[in-house]
Homo-oligomer: 151 residues x 2
């Protein structure tokens, strides 16, 4: 096993153990979907205004730091909404084979790591650092949506 | 000013300063509403399964502790979705005069305090303590919904 694969496997194991993938879904499927959509909605609504600051369309403010902290908190919750047992929820846009791919859990771990960094970076008004870290977060979103979300 | 009023005023000041009420809403009204509904949805979906454990309809598990931690995290975010400037969002079920009542902010503070306690209590399988603290959280939800949410 190469080092990269080992790290990936470790990451997946950590994600599964610590981030909720291993939790049984005790809610009704429609409630799990609502949970998932609610958290994703909240993520989207916090992500957008940080992007506006990065693009220079809005000024940096306390709101930027606040939204970055929200993203980090929401990222901790997000994988729980994809717990084992939620592979076949009607009307979900998540591809059914996502749960069979170790990368799926690893992506959530990356999302958590990068949003935690963003929450730190966004405490200061440093346009360059914010742009770089915002990009790192966006990459984790895109990586997962491209592979595991139906259009 | 009586002691109770002073405490209430202090609580409101703390809530306004620390919990996001003072933040300007930089998002479009419809996005703020989505944010609010997303967070409330997530709260509801985490609250229910803890209630099932309290009622004895489901066994205590790691999931219970997890959901209680989620509630505490979501409670920190919730008041931001009611930031100043969001008093008149179309299709919102929040009563328009809520923002004029000091109790509105105070209720969110109580919600945060009680969910933080619940997150602590739910780490152990103590049915009596869980029931009591779940009740305390439920009271903060009800207090706010009864007064500030349209039916």
């Amino acid at each position: 096993m190469t080092r990269i694969l080992k790290v990936a496997a470790l990451g997946t194991a950590i994600a599964a153990a610590a981030f909720g993938f291993a939790h049984a879904a005790e809610s009704k499927p429609e409630d799990v979907l609502k949970f998932r959509q609610g958290i994703m909605q909240a993520i989207k609504v916090n992500f957008g205004p940080i992007g506006a600051v990065v693009k220079g369309e809005a000024p940096y403010s306390e709101d930027t730091a606040n939204r970055a902290a929200n993203l980090a908190a929401l990222a901790k919750i997000a994988p729980q909404t994809y717990a084992k047992g939620t592979e076949t929820i009607p009307n979900s846009k998540t591809k059914g084979d996502a749960w069979t791919k170790p990368e799926f859990a690893a992506r959530f771990e990356a999302f958590q790591i990068e949003t935690a960094k963003l929450a730190q970076v966004a405490k200061a008004n440093d346009a360059e650092a914010l742009k770089a870290q915002f990009g790192a977060v966006a990459k984790t979103c895109k990586g997962c949506h491209d592979n595991f979300k139906e259009e």
